[in-house]
C-alpha cells in the first residue's frame, strides 16, 4: 500500500515542486547569466543580488489583466499554454536522479518510475508539446500568429525527427530503452556516453536547442520578426506560462542529455578506484551539477550567437542533421555487431 501509492506520490510532489521552483529561478538565472556576458549586472534590486526577482515577476504577472480576444476559442485559448507546460513536467517521471537511498528502513530508488520504454516515452511526450504551440497560434483567431505558430511547429517536428534518429543510435549502444538501464550501462562501461558517442551528443544538443526554440533557432519568437509569434494575443499569467514552459523544456533537455550522455548521477569515471574519494558526493548532486552545466551552455549560446533565418534553420535540420544522424546510426550498428 505504502510502496505502491504513498512513496510515488511523495516523489511526484517533490519532483513537481522542485521542477517548478527550478523553472521559476531559471528566469533569474537566464537574466543574470546573459547580463554578465553583456557586461552588466542583471536584476539587483529585489532582494540581495536580485534573488527575489522571480517572486516579484510572478506577483506582477498574476495581478495583470487577463485579456482574451473576443472571437478566440475560449477552451483552446486556455488550454494551449497548459499543453505546452504539461509534457515538460511529466517527462521527469522517468529521469533517474540518483542511486537508491535508504530511508526509514526502505530502499527507495531516486526515480519516480522506471518504464522499460522510458526514452521513447520522453520523445512521445515531447511530440505532444507541439500541440500547445499550434493551438496557441490558432486560438488567437488572427492570421499572423497562426502562420507564425505553424512555422514554429514545423521547426519542432523537423528537429524531432533528427533527435529521435540520434537517440536510436544511443539506444543501440546502451542496449535498452529504459533510462535507469542506460545510466547503469554507462556505469558498467566505465565511460560516459559522451565519449562513446560524441557525434550523437553534438546532434542531440543542436536538436535540443531547436526543439526548445532557443537561439540560434529562435526565429519564431524573435521580436524583429514581422509578426509577434504565436503568443501575440496572450497576456499576463498565460503568457508567463508559455515562457516558463520554454524554460521547463530547456531543463528537460538538459536533464535528458545529462542522463544519456553525462552518466546521469554517476561521478566522473565511476569505476575507477582511486577516484573513490569522490563517492561522498551523493548522486543527485552530480546530476544537478551536470544539468546546470547544460543550462549554462544554453544561455551562453543565446548570448553569443546570431540567429538563423527560418529557411536556413530548416535546411540545417533536414539536410545536415538527419543525414549525419543516419550515418551515425549506421556506424553504431556496424560497430556494435562487430564488437
Amino acid at each position: 500500500m505504502i510502496d505502491t501509492y504513498l512513496i510515488p506520490l511523495v516523489k511526484i510532489l517533490f519532483v513537481l515542486n522542485a521542477t517548478l521552483l527550478g523553472v521559476t529561478y531559471m528566469v533569474l538565472l537566464a537574466r543574470k547569466v546573459i547580463a554578465w556576458v553583456q557586461v552588466r549586472l542583471g536584476p539587483m534590486r529585489v532582494g540581495p543580488y536580485g534573488v527575489l526577482q522571480p517572486i516579484a515577476d510572478a506577483i506582477k504577472l498574476i495581478l495583470k489583466e487577463d485579456i482574451t480576444p473576443t472571437r478566440a476559442d475560449k477552451w483552446v485559448f486556455t488550454a494551449a499554454p497548459i499543453i505546452v507546460m504539461v509534457p515538460a513536467l511529466i517527462t521527469f517521471a522517468v529521469i533517474p536522479f540518483g542511486p537508491s537511498v535508504h530511508l526509514f528502513g526502505r530502499e527507495i530508488p531516486l526515480y519516480i518510475t522506471d518504464i522499460n520504454v522510458g526514452l521513447l516515452y520522453i520523445v512521445s511526450v515531447a511530440s505532444i508539446g507541439v500541440y500547445g504551440i499550434i493551438l496557441g497560434g490558432w486560438a488567437s483567431n488572427s492570421k499572423f500568429p497562426l502562420l507564425a505558430s505553424l512555422r514554429a511547429s514545423a521547426q519542432l517536428i523537423s528537429y524531432e525527427v533528427a533527435v529521435t534518429m540520434t537517440l536510436v543510435s544511443l539506444i543501440i549502444t546502451a542496449g535498452s530503452l529504459s533510462m535507469v538501464r542506460i545510466v547503469e550501462a554507462q556505469y558498467s562501461a566505465n565511460l560516459w556516453y559522451i565519449f562513446v558517442q560524441p557525434v550523437a551528443f553534438v546532434l542531440f544538443f543542436i536538436g535540443g536547442l531547436a526543439e526548445t526554440n532557443r537561439a540560434p533557432f529562435d526565429m519564431a519568437e524573435a521580436e524583429q520578426e514581422l509578426t509577434g509569434g504565436f503568443h501575440t494575443e496572450y497576456s499576463g499569467m498565460r503568457f508567463a506560462l508559455f515562457f516558463l514552459a520554454e524554460y521547463a523544456n530547456m531543463i528537460v533537455v538538459s536533464a535528458v542529455a545529462t542522463t544519456l550522455f553525462l552518466g546521469g548521477w554517476l561521478a566522473p569515471f565511476p569505476n575507477v578506484e582511486w577516484l573513490n574519494f569522490l563517492d561522498f558526493i551523493p548522486g543527485w548532486i552530480w546530476f544537478l551539477l551536470k544539468t546546470f552545466v547544460f543550462l549554462y551552455v544554453f544561455l551562453w549560446v543565446r548570448a553569443t550567437l546570431p540567429r538563423y533565418r527560418y529557411d536556413q534553420l530548416m535546411r540545417l535540420g533536414w539536410k545536415v542533421l538527419i543525414p549525419v544522424a543516419i550515418a551515425n546510426l549506421l556506424v553504431t550498428g556496424i560497430v556494435k555487431v562487430l564488437l
Binding site: 524573435a222 540567429r307 538563423y308
Partner: protein
C-alpha cells in the same frame, strides 16, 4: 495547383528594427519580397525652412539634430560650407581638432551601427559591447563641449573652445582601448558561420548600380567603387594625414560590414596622428562679429560616417539669415537603394538590410 496570393505587409513606423520611424510597405509572395515601398517623413521637423529664420550661427544647433548619432560631423560640414562661401581661413589647430572630432564621431556612429545591426541578426551581446565603447566616446565629448548627443561643438571659423587639459591623453588612451575592442568584435562575428550565412550574398548591389542610384559612403565602397570625400576633395586636416580607405568587392551585406569594421581601425589611426601631431595656435580664425556671407551660393560636402553629407547654401548678402539652406543627407540617398536591395529576399533579410545601409531617420526626414 495551389493558388498563392500576394500579401501586403506594413513594417513600421513603430517597429523594433527599422532604426527610427521608417515605414516599409512590403508586397510578399509567401515569404519572398516581391516589391516594396518606403514611406518617410515621420520625423520631418522642417529644419531647412527653420534655418531660413535663424542666423548663420544658430543654424549649427539645427544641424546637430539631423544625424543625431554623429552630430559633430554635421556641424563640421556646415561650418566648412559657410567658411567656403565667406572665404575664411581656419587655423591649423582647429582643423586638426575638427579632424579628430570627426573621426571620433565616425567610431561612435559605427559602434551604434554595429550594435544595432548585430542585434537585428540576433547577436545581442555585441550591442552591449559596442555601446560600452560608444559611452567612452560620449564621455570624451561631454568633457569637451558639455553634451553627449547634440554638441553644437563648432563655430564658423573654428571651434568655440579649446580642448580641455588632458583631453588629448584621454583620446589616445581611448584609441588603445578601441583597437583591442575591434579585434573582439571581429572575433565574435567575422568568421561566425551563422553571421556569414545571414550576410554573405544578401543585398548585393553592383558598383554601377550604386553610382547610378547615388549611394555614398560604406554602401558605395562595399560595392567596389573607390570614392571617399576625404581623399577626393580633402577638407579639414585630411590632406596632411595618412590613412587608407577600405573597399569591398562583392557589394553584399558582409562586405559593407567588413568595410565599416576596417573604418574603425583607420579612424583610430587618423585620430592618433591628429592628436599626436596637434599644432599649437589659435582655435578661431579672423571672423567678423556678425556673420554675413557675401551674396552667392556654394556646395560643400564632407564624409560623414553614413556617406557624403553635402550642404548647399544661398546667401543674399544682405540679411543675417540664409536665403536657402539645403542638405544632401547621405541616409536619404542611400535609402533609395533599399527597394532594389530587398527585392527577392526574405522578410528576415529586410531587417538586416536596413541595418546594413545604416540610416538615421533624423537625416532622412530632417
Amino acid at each position: 495547383m495551389f493558388d498563392t496570393e500576394e500579401l501586403v505587409i506594413n513594417m513600421g513606423p513603430q517597429h523594433p528594427s527599422t532604426h527610427g520611424v521608417l515605414r516599409v510597405v512590403l508586397r510578399l509572395d509567401g515569404e519572398k519580397v516581391v516589391d516594396s515601398e518606403i514611406v518617410i517623413g515621420y520625423l520631418h521637423r522642417g529644419i531647412e525652412k527653420l534655418s531660413e529664420n535663424r542666423n548663420w550661427t544658430q543654424i549649427i544647433l539645427l544641424t546637430d539634430r539631423m544625424d543625431y548619432v554623429a552630430a559633430a560631423t554635421s556641424n563640421v560640414g556646415y561650418c566648412e560650407t559657410v567658411e567656403k562661401l565667406m572665404q575664411l581661413e581656419v587655423p591649423r589647430r582647429a582643423r586638426y581638432i575638427r579632424t579628430a572630432i570627426c573621426e571620433l564621431q565616425r567610431i561612435a556612429s559605427h559602434c551604434l551601427w554595429l550594435g544595432t545591426h548585430a542585434m537585428d541578426i540576433g547577436a545581442m551581446t555585441v550591442f552591449l559591447y559596442a555601446f560600452r565603447e560608444r559611452e567612452l566616446i560620449l564621455d570624451l565629448f561631454e568633457e569637451y563641449c558639455g553634451a553627449r548627443l547634440t554638441y553644437n561643438s563648432m563655430r564658423i571659423g573654428g571651434l568655440p573652445l579649446d580642448i580641455p587639459v588632458g583631453w588629448d591623453k584621454k583620446v589616445l588612451e581611448f584609441c588603445n582601448i578601441m583597437s583591442e575592442k575591434v579585434d573582439e568584435y571581429e572575433e565574435l562575428l567575422t568568421q561566425n558561420r551563422i553571421w556569414l550565412e545571414r550576410t554573405k550574398g544578401i543585398g548585393v548591389i553592383s558598383g554601377e548600380d550604386a553610382v547610378a542610384i547615388g549611394l555614398s559612403g560604406p554602401p558605395l565602397r562595399g560595392s567596389g567603387v573607390s570614392k571617399d570625400v576625404r581623399k577626393d576633395e580633402p577638407y579639414a586636416a585630411y590632406d596632411e594625414l595618412k590613412f587608407e580607405v577600405p573597399i569591398g568587392t562583392a557589394g553584399d551585406t558582409y562586405d559593407r560590414y567588413l568595410v565599416r569594421l576596417e573604418e574603425f581601425r583607420q579612424s583610430v589611426k587618423i585620430i592618433r596622428q591628429a592628436i599626436e601631431g596637434l599644432p599649437e595656435g589659435p582655435i578661431v580664425g579672423k571672423v567678423p562679429r556678425l556673420i554675413k556671407p557675401p551674396a552667392g551660393e556654394t556646395y560643400h560636402a564632407i564624409e560623414s560616417p553614413k556617406g557624403e553629407i553635402g550642404y548647399f547654401i544661398v546667401s543674399d548678402g544682405k540679411s543675417t539669415n540664409p536665403y536657402r539652406f539645403r542638405v544632401r543627407p547621405p541616409s536619404f540617398c542611400n535609402l533609395q537603394a533599399l527597394p532594389q536591395l530587398i527585392k527577392g529576399h526574405l522578410v528576415a533579410d529586410v531587417v538586416a538590410l536596413i541595418g546594413s545601409i545604416d540610416v538615421v531617420l533624423g537625416e532622412v526626414d530632417r
